[in-house]
Symmetry: C2
Subunit: 639 residues, 2 copies
Amino acid sequence: MKRQKKKCTILFEPSGLKIEVPVGTVLLEAARKAGIYLTSICGGDGYCGKCKVIIDRSEQFQSRPTSLLTPDEIRENVVLACQTEVLSDMTITVPKFHTLETSQILMDTDAHRFSELAGEPGAGVFEFDPLVRKFAVEMSKPTVQDNTADHERLYVAIRDRIDAPIMQTGFRILQRLSKTLVEANYKVAVTIGRRGGTTEVIEVEPGKRCKTNLAVAVDLGTTTVVAHLIDLTNAKTIDTEATYNNQINFGEDYIRRIIYAEENNAFDEMQNRIVHDVNNLIVTLASRQKVDLQDITAIICAGNTAMVHFLLNLDPTRIRKEPYIASVSFVPPIRAAEAGIQINKRGLLYCLPSVAAYVGSDIVAGVLATRIYTKKGISLFVDIGTNGEVVLGNRDWLVCASSSAGPAFEGSGVKHGMRAAAGAIEKLTILGDGSIEFKTIGDAHPAGICGSGLLDTLAELFLNAIIDRTGRFKISRDRRFTEGDDGWQFQLVPPGNEHHQIVITQADINNLIRSKAGVFAAIRVLMDSTQTKIEDIDGIYIAGGFGNFLNVKKAVTIGMLPDVPPDKIQFVGNTSIAGAKTVLMSRKALETAEQIAKSMTYFDLMSHPGYMDEFIRAKFLPHTDLSLFPSVGNVMRRA
Amino acid sequence: MKRQKKKCTILFEPSGLKIEVPVGTVLLEAARKAGIYLTSICGGDGYCGKCKVIIDRSEQFQSRPTSLLTPDEIRENVVLACQTEVLSDMTITVPKFHTLETSQILMDTDAHRFSELAGEPGAGVFEFDPLVRKFAVEMSKPTVQDNTADHERLYVAIRDRIDAPIMQTGFRILQRLSKTLVEANYKVAVTIGRRGGTTEVIEVEPGKRCKTNLAVAVDLGTTTVVAHLIDLTNAKTIDTEATYNNQINFGEDYIRRIIYAEENNAFDEMQNRIVHDVNNLIVTLASRQKVDLQDITAIICAGNTAMVHFLLNLDPTRIRKEPYIASVSFVPPIRAAEAGIQINKRGLLYCLPSVAAYVGSDIVAGVLATRIYTKKGISLFVDIGTNGEVVLGNRDWLVCASSSAGPAFEGSGVKHGMRAAAGAIEKLTILGDGSIEFKTIGDAHPAGICGSGLLDTLAELFLNAIIDRTGRFKISRDRRFTEGDDGWQFQLVPPGNEHHQIVITQADINNLIRSKAGVFAAIRVLMDSTQTKIEDIDGIYIAGGFGNFLNVKKAVTIGMLPDVPPDKIQFVGNTSIAGAKTVLMSRKALETAEQIAKSMTYFDLMSHPGYMDEFIRAKFLPHTDLSLFPSVGNVMRRA
């Protein structure tokens, strides 16, 4: 037997990156250290099966047995990186599906969908008055009679154009101001940014570089990060892009990530990950649209409170400890470069305000985008992400809560779950003969199931009595039932030439039911607390990255949403980014968002006496109390 | 003969600093490169004679002949560094008088005087409301019911204490805010700074570190820099210190320095010099008073426009070119560290506003300190520094102008001139028998003559007919007349055991007359332009670093000030620093200073048709037109 070496060198192909690690290092960890992104959802616990790599050459390694690899994969030397220890030098091939470049094309289709769903910002109730503007300024030249200094001359000229009682200018701009003005013959393009009550001169450039002024709006999700490239001169969305949140290796929900960061003092690492994701999105958008990063002068972010804290490296630790406190709810605008964001080096980073540790700025954005704060009647807003946040209210009052739904409807924690990208099953119906009809995004070969498809699946399995009201499989002689490593599973799509079979497991179903039960319990707590009856609800808005066409009726069927007539329910897509864009385009919208954040009353479900009961009652399909779901009762009786 | 080496090593004693320079380098330049400060006023032209050093060891060097060294000095191997070329390795002793450490003790006495002269700020018309404050804040701790984020909780607590509608907090403070609050059990010391309409949270520290809060006020003079250490909690001046402006090597007035900086792209070097001076003063004050630099949270500067531009590395080049424009007149507060100033790393740097390229914030400070902007009657304010600025006006109007007086009354450009430090002759009288009586600062051995002494000297020489009305020596058999290398000179103090003789030369007298003529011509232009008659003037305030006891009557005798009764004239010392301190102690005072700067009408003398005539007419003692100086005419007739 060979003597073990103390250090091993790993070569990652096709990038050619090499790293030296101590013997015994877990391969996933080694990849992380080498800066190579491997998809991983479970944080290295070995149950998501996403971190597959191919071992091309190795004298010695140790891989724990797993059910997540097919016999074919095992023959092809595929291993799970998180279950493999490095014992010698090795060469690894990282499959393409891990890389951002591959997923871009898929996500492009997906992310474009969001922009169609959300009403174009700037065209709405708010006056067009973007947070960052660029305009041409032509000043009179100084004379002996008019010897006003350059700085004050500039301020006069700016105030001729816009309302800006309190102005400030960065030191570096001041230092080169005179040179710029003289060289430009006092004709310049001025970029100004709104920072609360202050207007900052961000940039003064010679001549006519004022036609191009861009911004990026970002939805910082726990599982996915979405970015839109916006033209600040006309509020148009130019392009959209999405990626997985690179922090996902450190835990599937943000509570786990906070714990990981605390235990490993990895706050900087957490920030680096999410900043890296955002920068990747920006660079991808910029290069695809052939725009100069210097022309992107603003970035606006909405997201849950933890993600915003991670992005800015604010202390997130008290989010998870009673009494559950954020460091900052109203994040002041900062220079994007201060957070490591690669736009114009003097460009500003805005974050929408949040309500509480568990109701973030994405929810404020959602309330803004759906305009429920303007309506006389009561609306219910539900955002299904890794958490399920719920808002209830009208123009007089707003209450909110957060259920830790888990990312099942984002396709995470589900065996063949995936996010809404090409190949994802987005619609699924079980026909009268028991056969299954489905539609994939982009009509591609089926690769997995996204949120809307999972919702359909759960409803259809239930309506067709393949699962019972507790979600348990009613095992029959149907040959689509097989026993997998995780227990019973039901085949939704048989294997084909270009795709594997797609199944749903008992564990998947349990996860989905837990998610929907959490959301419904939160709704019930808010309704009870405000004495809102179901007939008082004028409209329900359901948001999230489900995909494009959410069958809202089926959201009622499974008991996720209250049983209101389907025409009262509207799927509104990614309202986080829609609200962020609205704010970006109007100072008044930002003020409104701040008012919304201030006025919302937060209910802490963890300390709420009724929540756990409601949750347990909601863990049935559609609910323990069928009288709450008369329309579903009717369908069941018909079945 | 030895072969010349391409590079020579110079060892400077007593510091032990070594530097290697190319053969042929001028010694003054070599010292500069080694970071050794040699006093030099003429900028290396060989006529000020201040850059004396001793050559201890050298095989070869070349020194141009000069009249500025005594035979004793030549014997002792003293050379002028600016006139000496390095041709071999050498060891140089830098005499003690070049170093700041020596001059500190002298300047201390001098600088203390300023603080006595100027009324204590904060005790005056303005409410005590310093630009930077530190106070204890105790917050209620968050609970599940009161889950306001830490940042917003802090703002609420601050707003309980002070009026601060628009607040901002630096990113770094936000990042560690939660940790600080938790560790301090929500009892913290908060430092806030006023930045225009915005209140910035500069620092949040645990516990009770709020008793110590200090600031530095600085007068940025072309020739001298004065700093006062202030207690921000009670507006008291703790200590004062002064130094020569280290830029002086690059030219005696700031126009020369701007030209030097342009020609040599030496803007950074210019900034480094003045920042180094300011830092030296701060460190000296802090170490003498045993205070921590971190407890100095603000610095406020007043000075001429060019010096403020140099300090901040703003572009000063257009100050000297028609139409004579500043980059910035109203300098926004910046972080002191951005300019390299070594106080608390988040402390703020304030500059008072200026009026024009040639009327700086020191003059605005003077108007504020003398309160002429509040008076019904017309006042005349004259500040004699390297330039002579003049302000005329009352509470309804203010006009101002700047004469390029030159630094003669600061003791520069005068053979035995020196600034107001120990040993400087500050009073001088020629008695009936022709003998001379004088008083030195600190009653030390006479070392030279400071501003007030020079003014006395000029007046006494004139009154005693030693010079005529044009300032020319009336050479007589008086043995005190000798011919020096610069032509005729008159001995004021014979040599003694502990001092050299002190003389005044024809060139000195010509410089002094040019200075006073410039100032008086400026006064005349302003009076003419506003149709102010001499009897309309209610009071004259004369400011500057003359010394302690300026004989204001003699300022009339030589025709520097209009012939008003002496009780209408007041010597007010360094009003630049007095005004700066006033502003530091009250936001309202800063607003008032801004109003003053905005409302003052600037007269450009260089383009003014009448100025040159007035100047030529004022080059007589007291003036060509004796009817303007009836009181002096009387004295002359008596003589």
